[in-house]
Symmetry: C2
């Protein structure tokens, strides 16, 4: 019954099964290195909608629909949905998933929300509160630029440290029992805390988030008494190339060499040379679609046996940025293993 472990971790008594999942992305993501792996690629980033926000809502709606279809479940089979996005008051979620009429827990952890939703979803099953849940998150390049920086019409320039918000949504069906098909299992969780090194550059979010990733990762190693080599991959959400360097350095200072096993979804999803995406992809959707399309596939195909999946989030808003506040970070980690 006691599923606590160390300061900030959870060791699940029984694994929680990821029955199936779905990913939907925008045109640019479809042209990237993972393009052929996504379940659906939009022809343009409005997805037939009138506004960027509506487009992002439709991403969540479609990702949930596809995930349920692939898993062979209906909305009435699902106890709870854990959902969130980056927009103010999470409106992509509010207007995206309401038609399913599934009891909702709204979550917010910036770009770490995919990890947070999977953590709480797995806990609700492992605690005996639900048989099946759905976890869904999304982001959209155009709605995020408008929300956090400038509307696209402004045509602002971006420094090389900036990341490119992924247009996409990933949805996951979790179950207490093994499904007809099971892509992977969740066996452990490490919950992150807010880490603020005082950095204020919203165009270098990788550096802002790396200290939070290092904090959660160190806590995970301590709580689990584990080492980097215990994982086939340690996968952050959207640190990008700048943040990756910072994380590897910070972990080296703490006595851990993760340089051989580290992977970042934001680095994998775009080709910076041909796609002009600078430091890499970011956003709630980045880690979610990469998990669904690429990471779970590696676990299914026996290329990896166990990974630590750790979405990273930058806790900024345009209000806090305009008021001169820093950009704190947070990261939540999940142990994912072969089913």
């Amino acid at each position: 019954m006691d599923q606590k472990m160390g300061r900030a971790s959870i060791q699940l008594d029984a694994p929680v099964y990821i029955w199936d999942s779905a990913s939907i992305v925008g045109k640019k993501e479809g042209e990237g290195p993972l393009g052929l792996l996504f379940d659906m690629v939009g022809e343009d980033d409005l997805f037939g909608c009138k506004t960027w926000e509506e487009a992002e809502s439709s991403l969540q709606k479609d990702a949930v629909y596809m995930a349920m279809g692939k898993a062979g479940v209906k909305p009435e089979d699902i106890s709870f949905i854990f959902a969130g996005d980056l927009l103010g008051q999470s409106i992509a979620t509010s207007f995206g998933i309401s038609s399913y009429q599934i009891p909702l827990f709204g979550v917010y952890g910036a770009c770490s929300t995919c990890g947070e939703s999977l953590a709480l979803g797995a806990m609700s099953i492992a605690g005996g509160f639900a048989d099946k849940v759905i976890c869904v998150t999304s982001s959209h390049f155009a709605s995020a630029e408008k929300e956090f920086r400038y509307p696209l019409e402004y045509g602002n320039q971006r420094p090389l440290s900036a990341s490119w918000t992924v247009t996409g949504s990933g949805a996951f069906v979790l179950g207490r029992e093994r499904g007809k098909k099971t892509r992977a299992v969740i066996t452990g969780i490490t919950v992150g805390k807010i880490v603020d090194y005082g950095l204020k550059d919203s165009m270098n979010m990788g550096a802002c988030m790396a200290p939070a990733a290092a904090s959660t990762l160190e806590q995970h190693f301590i709580d689990y008494n584990s080492q980097p080599e215990d994982y086939d991959k340690i996968i952050t959400g959207d640190l990008g190339s700048v943040g990756q360097t910072v994380l590897i350095d910070l972990m080296r200072d703490k006595g851990y060499d993760i340089s051989q096993v580290h992977m970042d979804c934001g680095i994998e999803i775009f080709d910076p040379a041909s796609q002009d995406t600078h430091a890499g992809g970011s956003g709630c959707g980045c880690s979610a679609v990469t998990l669904s399309a690429f990471i779970l596939k590696q676990l299914e195909e026996n290329n990896w046996k166990k990974v630590l999946f750790m979405p990273t989030g930058a806790l900024l808003s345009k209000t806090s940025f305009n008021e001169g506040k820093s950009v704190p970070g947070i990261a939540h980690a999940l142990v994912l293993e072969q089913a």
Copy 2:
């Protein structure tokens, strides 16, 4: 182990104990009918800070500090904190509670967030994932007006159906075992879904939220096979006087008469005749401070034995409002009983 109940409810195997709690409010709330019951009342609504957002962050920080002090616990005793607010990207939370360095689950359910945080907090304990958690939410009149409508300097007029966002924060320490002092216990949860009747008036949020409250309440009665008279009070978060009428009518249509047992935190917290607050108080802080200062006191003093506490939320943003979208609602309910 199976703690599910019906479509959307949870019956906890063992009660989760509310060890203690704290409330901090602004000047206007201190002058209202519940004024003498709050733990702290600010002299002015900036609370010594430079911006409204910083002021709201300081409310969360102080509420958590007082709740921990009253409960006799330290940050390192707390497994997780479940926290949220109304501002874009939940910045009152991000900049309010980071110094405690407690692993964080950020939650968003508009003004229902107090109920959502308590639900997830109780589940994390009842599932064996934590010994003690803190749940905290906040709102601030000035930061909310700026976030959702107009900055105060604009001096806009408000229709009589409008509510007044409560400046305040309530924090709750939950434990698996009985504490030195225990104010009440959480024994059940009903999780709400998004309900959208297509209403678009952000100056009449009571009417926008009432259908969601009715949905959750009906589901609760079905899942628990209970009736209105099984509760000493059925307490909504911030429907106000307009929303209360709508809820009572909607429930009558569903075959339930709640007119004798219904209470609304938004109606209790202000005196509309002398305080010019129109339909009542609202915001994440409204239900949180009323729960801490007034509702738990009634359970402690044996005036009530069992209540259904159901914070209500209006899922709007200024972006969705400006794009002509409706204001969907959500409500989460908790069964609170004498300890």
